[in-house]
Symmetry: C2
Subunit: 143 residues, 2 copies
């Protein structure tokens, strides 16, 4: 039914649950599985920035730690190294772009089922649902 699955994970939370579900899904459908995690850049507003420049680049450190986490998860759940992607940008845009590049037929995302303001502002699951050109499986994450 599905041949190319793209799993989108937030490496900071619930990634294990999502990886496990996605791996099961891929096995059941005999589909190839790719994983993407998108990091939003830390934007410093220089007009209010009274801190002197720091000797280390926190963005670099953060990226490196996330890259390691992604490699760990990929290895654990049998996602090949060339199918693991760490991107910097706006999650919904990068996820949908990657799905389009890979010609994915299913995107799996985690969903917290947000309400109110978060719903209007758009959670990632919601935004992906509205922008994806393929099917989207939202895996419910219970707090």
């Amino acid at each position: 039914m599905y041949q190319k699955i793209l799993l989108a994970v937030d490496l900071s939370s619930h990634a294990e649950l999502l990886c496990q579900k996605a791996a099961e899904m891929a096995e059941l459908h005999q589909a190839s599985l790719s994983v993407i995690s998108v990091v939003e850049p830390i934007v410093s507003d220089s007009a209010f920035d009274t801190m002197p420049p720091l000797p280390v680049d926190f963005d670099d450190l953060r990226l490196q730690s996330l890259r390691e986490r992604l490699q760990q998860l990929g290895a654990k759940y049998g996602i090949r190294a060339e199918q693991r992607f760490l991107e910097i940008g706006v999650p919904k845009r990068e996820i949908c772009r990657k799905a389009s590049d890979l010609v994915s037929d299913l995107i799996i995302v985690g969903s917290h089922g947000r309400h109110g303001v978060e719903l209007l502002l758009g959670s990632t699951a919601n935004a992906v649902l509205h922008h994806a050109q393929c099917d989207v499986l939202a895996v419910r994450i219970h707090k």
Copy 2:
């Protein structure tokens, strides 16, 4: 992976595609499949209603025609009679309530990937995603 799937269809459009995908999914997961369709009542605003009462009840006719369509689809895709539901109400609420009653672990809905105003007002797929207590598979319907 999934044991109880609830398919939500709008009987007026694309129901065949959704039934087919849901039936495949249920077979693959060896899950039981139920189907729900929710009809929003026609509300007539009596303050502006200058029409005399009509000799036929259009709501009844509409319901009967939808019920027949649901039975046809159910029979065609192997969904048992007692697992076919036609409800009147607000779609997101009735779908999520039925999923909860049936202890469904996956809801399948169609998604048009709406934008702008429709996104803010909330499509059914979007609303279900945010209210469901289980996973939601949004099947992309291309216009």
